[in-house]
C-alpha cells in the first residue's frame, strides 16, 4: 500500500520530457518533488504562471507571486505570467500536456466528482471543471477507498459531477488503473497489495488481464 508521497512518486513517472503540467491541490502538488531532474518540465498554475519553481526562501516571499493554492512561490528561468483568460485558453486549447488532480469519486465511464458534497459547505469548483473538460491527458491521484472503507472507484458517481467521461488514468494507494470501454483496467498493483484486495476495494467493473505487475516506485 502506498502513502500520499508514494502515489505522487508513481505519478511522477508519467511526467515526460517537454511536458507542460498542471498540478491540482493535495497529492498532485507533491508530484513536483519527484519528477526526474534530467528532464525539462514546466509547471502551470491556472492563476497565471508557467515555469513555477519551489517555495521562496524565508524573507523573499512576494505577495504578487502565488500559485492557485494561494501559496507564495518562485519562478524558474523561462517562466511567464499571463491573465486568467489566457491561462484557461492554454488549458481549453489543449496546450497543457498533462493534468493531475484529486477526486472524491471516479466512475467506470470516466466521470469524475471532486467539488461538492451535498449538505456540506460548497466552496466551488475553481478551475477543475475547465481542466477535466479540456485536458486529453488526465491522471487522477486519490485514495482507493474513503475513510469509511468504501470504494471511490464506482459504477456511477453519487456526488455532483465535475466532468463526464474524462478520466483516463487513476493512481491510488493500491493500484494503477486505466479507464476504457466503460471499465477500470488494472495495470499495476501497489507493493504488498493483491489483485483480490483491489477487486474488493473497487465497486465499478474491474478488468484484470494476465499477470498484473507490482508497481516500481
Amino acid at each position: 500500500m502506498l502513502d500520499k508521497n508514494g502515489i505522487a512518486k508513481r505519478i511522477a513517472k508519467e511526467v515526460k520530457d517537454g511536458y507542460y503540467v498542471n498540478l491540482g491541490i493535495g497529492i498532485p502538488t507533491l508530484v513536483a518533488n519527484f519528477v526526474r531532474n534530467d528532464i525539462e518540465v514546466e509547471f502551470q498554475s491556472e492563476n497565471g504562471v508557467l515555469g513555477m519553481g519551489p517555495f521562496p526562501f524565508e524573507g523573499e516571499e512576494d505577495a504578487d507571486t502565488i500559485n492557485a493554492g494561494k501559496q507564495t512561490i518562485t519562478t524558474l528561468p523561462g517562466a511567464s505570467f499571463f491573465d486568467s483568460a489566457v491561462s484557461f485558453g492554454m488549458i481549453r486549447g489543449k496546450h497543457v500536456d498533462l493534468t493531475i488532480l484529486g477526486a472524491m469519486e471516479v466512475a467506470e465511464n470516466g466521470d469524475i466528482a471532486n467539488w461538492k458534497i451535498p449538505g456540506r459547505m460548497v466552496k466551488g469548483m475553481g478551475g477543475a471543471m475547465d481542466l477535466v473538460a479540456s485536458a486529453e491527458n488526465i491522471i487522477v491521484a486519490m485514495m482507493h477507498t474513503n475513510k469509511a472503507g468504501q470504494s471511490k472507484l464506482l459504477k456511477r458517481c453519487t456526488l455532483p459531477l465535475t466532468g463526464v467521461g474524462c478520466v483516463k488514468k487513476i493512481v491510488t494507494n493500491m493500484a494503477v488503473l486505466e479507464v476504457k470501454h466503460h471499465t477500470f483496467h488494472l495495470l499495476e498493483r501497489a507493493p504488498g497489495v493483491s489483485v483480490a484486495d483491489i477487486k474488493k476495494a473497487t465497486e465499478g467493473k474491474l478488468v484484470v488481464e494476465g499477470n498484473i505487475p507490482e508497481m516500481v516506485v
Binding site: 524573507g59 504578487d64 501559496q71 466521470d111 463526464v164
Partner: protein, 236 residues
C-alpha cells in the same frame, strides 16, 4: 493623449450605486483593488452583485463588504476561506452563483471583446450546464455561456499612466486584464501612476482605451493568504 486620471478614489467611484453589478479583479487576495473595496465599504451601498473569482477572507478583500452586508449576490469560482460568507450563504442572506474559473474569465473577456456568448466544454454534463443550451462540435459537447454585463469594473495594476495604459506584476495580473473594458465604466487603481510617455508602449498589457478612470492607489497591504517558504540553506 486622452487623460483618464482622476484625483482620488472618491472621484474614481462616482456614480456607483446600490443594486449595481460590479466586477472586481484579483485571485484570492492577490491583485485585488484594495482602495476601491475600502471606498465601497465607506459608501455603504447595498444589494451589490459582485463578479469576482473569490470572496476574500473574513477581514480583508471582499470579506469587508460581506461583513457590512453590502453584497446581495456573489458570482465566483471558489469561495472558501471565509466563515462569514459561509454563514450568509447557508442562512440564505447571500445568493451565490458558482462558475468554472475559465468560464468566469472568458465571460469577462467576451464582454470586453464584444462577444454576446461563447461555447465551452467546461461544465458539460454537470449542474453548471443545467438549463443552458448545448451543442456538439466535432463529436464533443459544449455549453453556451453568455458574456457578463456589469456597471463598473474595479481592477488593480502595478503601473499605469494618465492615458489609462496598464502594466501588471506577477500573478497579480489574473482576472484584472479580462475585466478591463468589460463593464460600462472601468476604474483602474495602480501602485504607481506616471505621466503619459513614461511607459514603453511595447510593454503595455492593457491599452488605455479599456479604462475610463485611473488613480494612484494608497497604502497597499498586499496580504499573503498562504505564506509558504523554505529555510535558507546556510553555506559553511
Amino acid at each position: 493623449m486622452i487623460n483618464k486620471k482622476v484625483a482620488n478614489v472618491v472621484e474614481a467611484l462616482k456614480g456607483v450605486e446600490s443594486g449595481m453589478t460590479l466586477m472586481l479583479g484579483g485571485f484570492g487576495l492577490c491583485g485585488i483593488p484594495e482602495n476601491a473595496i475600502a471606498e465601497l465599504v465607506r459608501l455603504g451601498i447595498t444589494d451589490i452583485t459582485c463578479i469576482s473569482n473569490n470572496a476574500g477572507v473574513d477581514d480583508f478583500g471582499l470579506g469587508l463588504l460581506l461583513q457590512n452586508h453590502q453584497i446581495k449576490k456573489m458570482i465566483s469560482s471558489y469561495v472558501g476561506e471565509n466563515d462569514e460568507f459561509e454563514r450568509q450563504m447557508l442562512s440564505g442572506e447571500l445568493e451565490v452563483e458558482l462558475t468554472p474559473q475559465g468560464t468566469l474569465a472568458e465571460k469577462c473577456r467576451a464582454a470586453q471583446a464584444g462577444f454576446p456568448a461563447f461555447y465551452t466544454p467546461a461544465g458539460y454534463g454537470t449542474e453548471v450546464a443545467e438549463g443552458k443550451e448545448t451543442r456538439e462540435f466535432d463529436g464533443k459537447m459544449y455549453v453556451l455561456e453568455p458574456a457578463y454585463k456589469a456597471d463598473f469594473s474595479f481592477v488593480k495594476a502595478w503601473k499605469g499612466d494618465e492615458a489609462g495604459n496598464l502594466i501588471f506584476k506577477g500573478t497579480a495580473r489574473n482576472f484584472n486584464p479580462c475585466m478591463c473594458g468589460a463593464a460600462t465604466i472601468t476604474v483602474a487603481e495602480v501602485e504607481e501612476l506616471l505621466p503619459a510617455g513614461s511607459l514603453d508602449p511595447n510593454q503595455i498589457h492593457i491599452p488605455g482605451i479599456f479604462v475610463q478612470r485611473i488613480f494612484q492607489g494608497k497604502h497597499y497591504e498586499k496580504r499573503i493568504e498562504q505564506r509558504t517558504v523554505r529555510p535558507k540553506e546556510h553555506v559553511g
